[in-house]
């Protein structure tokens, strides 16, 4: 379970990216966070694994205080939280499998990492992660030789290799075309349903959010302005989150309707 207690983030420049947010995410939920650009979606997601430190308040993951954790403790918390990025964040000049095995770094002794020698068990786990996103045949291909959609699935496999309890996805489909976006979102949905992993995703498009999110959290200027199911998102709620009415730019399939 993830719990935010009066969490606030103020960046060095003075921007209040998160303002007194309190919320709870139970295990196994598929949560989508929506909001305008700059609303604080990335900040909220990055606070969960401590990539962004809170200015005040607390974040707890499985009752462990991320805010108070020292470096070593933070690494342990992070090892149970997979992360997927808009820009994939793969090491282009190495193989897909090496990228996936980055997900095992916490459980690999440093000397082994330095030598670049993985155990057969680790390689097996890496292969199984790749099989889950149906891209295992690319295991020994250089990451740079894959398409955007394939690279994002490698990103998902890397997160799965951590054997995580939670997966955070910061705009995982923002660099992809619509059909590929659905493939990636369905992968995340399957991971949530079949493995029971909590999945928290930032999305720009409201139709994708409603289609894949069991629960939708709306942020506006760092404040929690909506928390409910996709079905509850109507025109009024939309205006609360976005401060204006729905346009074609807010949906992936270019039809301005909810």
């Amino acid at each position: 379970m993830i719990r935010f207690e009066h969490a606030s983030v103020t960046y060095p420049g003075g921007v209040h990216a998160l303002k007194d947010v309190s919320l709870e995410i139970p295990d196994g939920q598929m949560v989508v966070i929506v909001g305008l650009s700059g609303a604080g979606k990335s900040t909220l997601i990055r606070a969960i694994n401590g990539l962004v430190p809170l200015t005040s308040g607390r974040v707890l993951v499985d009752d462990e205080d991320v805010t108070a954790a020292d470096r070593k403790h933070l690494r342990r918390i992070r090892s149970r939280i997979g992360m997927i990025f808009q820009g994939f964040n793969l090491v282009n000049r190495t193989t897909v499998l090496n990228n996936v095995l980055m997900g095992r770094l916490y459980h690999t002794p440093t000397w082994r990492t330095i030598l670049g020698r993985y155990t057969p068990e680790q390689i097996d786990l890496g292969m199984r992660s790749l099989e889950r996103v149906e891209i295992v045949e690319k295991a020994y291909t250089r990451a740079s030789n894959l398409s955007g959609g394939q690279q994002q699935r490698v990103g998902i496999a890397r997160a799965l290799a951590q054997d995580p309890r939670i997966i955070l996805a910061d705009e995982p489909v923002a660099s992809l075309d619509p059909p590929t976006s659905h493939v990636v979102m369905r992968d995340l949905q399957r991971i949530n349903r079949e493995l029971g992993i909590t999945v928290i995703t930032n999305l720009h498009f409201l139709d994708l959010a409603r289609q894949y999110g069991d629960r939708i959290i709306g942020l506006r200027a760092g404040e929690l302005v909506f928390d409910g199911s996709g079905a509850q998102v109507d025109e009024k709620v939309f205006e609360d989150i976005y401060g204006r009415s729905l346009t074609a730019d807010d949906v992936l399939e270019k039809r301005a309707e909810l």
Binding site: L51, R78, F85, V91, N92, M102, L105, T113
Partner: protein, 264 residues
Amino acid sequence: MSAALPDARPTRPARSKLVWVAVALFLAMTAWSWDGIGFSPAELVEKADNARRIVDDMFPVAWQAWPVLVEPLLETFRMAVIGSVIGCSLALLVGFLASQVTAPNGVVYGVSKTLMSVVRSIPDVLYALLFVAAVSIGPLAGVLALVFFNVGVVAKLLSETVDAVPLGPLEAADAAGATFVQRVRAAVFPQVLPNYLAYALYTFELNLRASVVLGLVGAGGIGQVLRIAQTRYRYDVIALIIFVTFVIVFLVEALSISLRRRLS
């Protein structure tokens, strides 16, 4: 038209006066240098006879002397190999410590960066002179000189490559719970490895040429034979050394260039 639209097009901004100051300084410095060393192309013509005598002395080339050169040439080659291996290994460490992306903290970064520029500011021949004085004449002095020379060059190139690496993979490593060293090894090293290998090959080429010169000041290898030939006015032997050195450097360079092309 310009009367109708007086403000539409901007006028060209005046060139800074500093440009003229710089040009004047440049000209003055050239004149001062030219005058100072008494440089005169006419001298070349006056001394043409002397030059012709030396060229005459070079022929016929002392081909029969080649067996004497084999050992010193091998020594030069070995010096270049050892110098590259040790120098580039050290540079791998220093290069990572001298980039803000991979330095463990600001102090280590600053110290490595300073160390690097100090090492680089001393020319290789000066290193050779110092080490010949310190450990006496021979290949050890040459290898030490090459090591310092290589650390300076490769660490600098490597640290600049590390500076420019995309940071996304580092974030991914952090998010997976990696240690600092793991992050460097898994997220940065693969990104710079091809460049590093290319730099290492390139410095090997430089080393081969440099170790010829280093021999001249007593740091072992073919350069030492060159010096002896020079003191005995054996320009026919010098001609042979020039030829053989040219062939070897040319071959190694061709090989290295084709390998480096494959890396990129």
